[in-house]
């Protein structure tokens, strides 16, 4: 089992549900963006074992906390997640309502000049909205 160790190492018991979700999320050529709703559809398409909605929420949040997923800051009624956890940014196509990755190399270096005392920068996220 490919993800057994990964889960154990992060202190998450490798349950059937978590392993199946790992496959759907990480057994792909390319990384992708998804909502919980998208993910549930993918799970149901992949096999007949339905996983409870609550478990999908729990698992996604557990994975995010462990750093296996990133939340994408965007104003939408649903929360978007990204299986691409590298340091990168996003285009958001307003018409199609779709996210597109924007690699760090596709953007000039970002230099935050202002400092807030007592605080350090955890992440810098750029959202570029696109229109026709």
């Amino acid at each position: 089992m490919k993800y057994l160790k990964k889960l154990r190492n992060s202190g998450l018991r490798p349950t059937k549900q978590r392993l199946q979700i790992c496959e759907v999320l990480f057994d792909t050529e390319k990384t992708f963006h998804f909502t919980i709703n998208d993910l549930v559809k993918k799970i149901n398409k992949q096999s007949n074992n339905k996983i409870s909605l609550a478990t999908v929420y729990n698992t996604v949040h557990a994975f995010e906390k462990k750093g296996y997923l990133k939340q994408i800051p965007i104003n939408s009624s649903q929360t978007y997640f990204d299986t691409n956890i590298s340091d990168h940014h996003h285009f958001y196509d307003l018409k199609e309502e779709k996210l597109i990755d924007l690699d760090n190399s596709d953007i000039g270096p970002i230099n935050i000049l202002k400092k807030i005392s007592g605080k350090k920068i955890k992440s810098v996220e750029v959202l570029v909205k696109l229109e026709d």
Copy 2:
């Protein structure tokens, strides 16, 4: 009336409610960030005329559409708005759950190298998350 013309010019009837909301939002020295909930509290503090929640939602969205307010892309259960409509960015203090403005001058120039054919850039928004 200070905001009568502003509203008329944008094709919004200057109702009592809209004028009052204008005062709360725009009659301030400094710009600020708020949620609908924050705004309702401010309105109720300022006067005894309660404005219906639905009207607050309608008005804020109308103002946003006219460009008098900006939505701030951030993952939160509530939507954040900004009365500062100039081109700028935000710090988000994860611990305090508070937004701090980051002027364009506080950040190096951002140069998006990747182009998406048929689309043009509408906005570039940077969110800098802060931790202790």
